[in-house]
Amino acid sequence: MAQHASFASLNVGDGPAPLVFGPLTRTDFVRYAGASHDFNPNHHDEIYATERGNKTVFGMGMLAAGYGGRLMTDWFGVPALRRLRIRFASRFWPGDVLTATGKVMAKNEADGVLECEFTLVNQDGEVIVRGDATVAPRT
């Protein structure tokens, strides 16, 4: 793995290289259903989903949350993560391209801890999830 960002190197406003996911497919949703045990048919059964007024199946919020988790662990490493929160704002669909970006919101010198925020937006700039995280990076 590439060297993770250090506490000393980061300041408020800094962010990682954005990550891009997609174009997403129904297969991506089915793969996450199997891995996560989320078998809500809205995420894999086209007939069920459209009968209920959806244009097609849609992705799981926790799949987008997983993409956000990767943004944080690529940036800081798995052991650095202290807290992660994801708020679900909108749905996403097959064909969507989600872009994850993040930045440092606060730097706590006394504890060596950073407060960060991240978002995943679709190709139209619509926010799909908002997240925030507390991390203790290498010094």
Partner: protein
């Protein structure tokens, strides 16, 4: 939702964090990080084994449905998963046997101009490992709306 459900607790449940599940989950969230696949890569980051990806333990909340049922939801098509929080206290690695203990933290009601009457339930699950160490705490916020949301 049943506002009197706040404070309810549920019997602990146990499961093993399997290396194959970690690899499968990492692939499903599009994460090629070698720490999820290669013990040497995990050790190079100071981890005592192949680590769980940050959102993995959420998937183990599907096992006990009792706490979600205790919220008193009448029709799940009015429910939206509003928020999910994870706190990390110690590494979770492949082979760990975790015990999850759930309780309903709160159930509150409020009026929303857009969505009608809302009920907001928060379920907390505390996970301990086989050595009795608290490893993660998850908080899942479910919102019951006055109209069908995801369905």
């Amino acid at each position: 939702m049943d506002t009197s459900a706040a404070g309810k607790t549920f019997p602990p449940y146990e499961f093993q964090v399997e290396r194959g599940k970690i690899r499968e989950f990492a692939a499903a969230v599009g994460d090629p990080n070698p720490v999820y696949r290669d013990p040497a890569a995990a050790a190079a980051e100071g981890l005592p084994g192949i680590p769980a990806p940050p959102t993995l333990l959420r998937t183990f909340l599907y096992e006990p449905q009792t706490s979600a049922e205790a919220l008193g939801v009448v029709d799940w098509s009015f429910i939206v998963h509003g928020e999910q929080e994870f706190e990390y206290f110690a590494p979770v690695v492949a082979g760990d046997v975790l015990t999850g203990t759930q309780r309903i933290l709160s159930v509150t009601e409020k009026e929303s101009r857009r969505a009608g009457k809302l009920a907001i339930g928060v379920i907390e699950t505390v996970f301990h490992n086989q050595r009795g160490e608290k490893v993660q705490v998850l908080r899942r916020t479910l919102i019951e709306t006055g109209q069908r949301i995801a369905d």
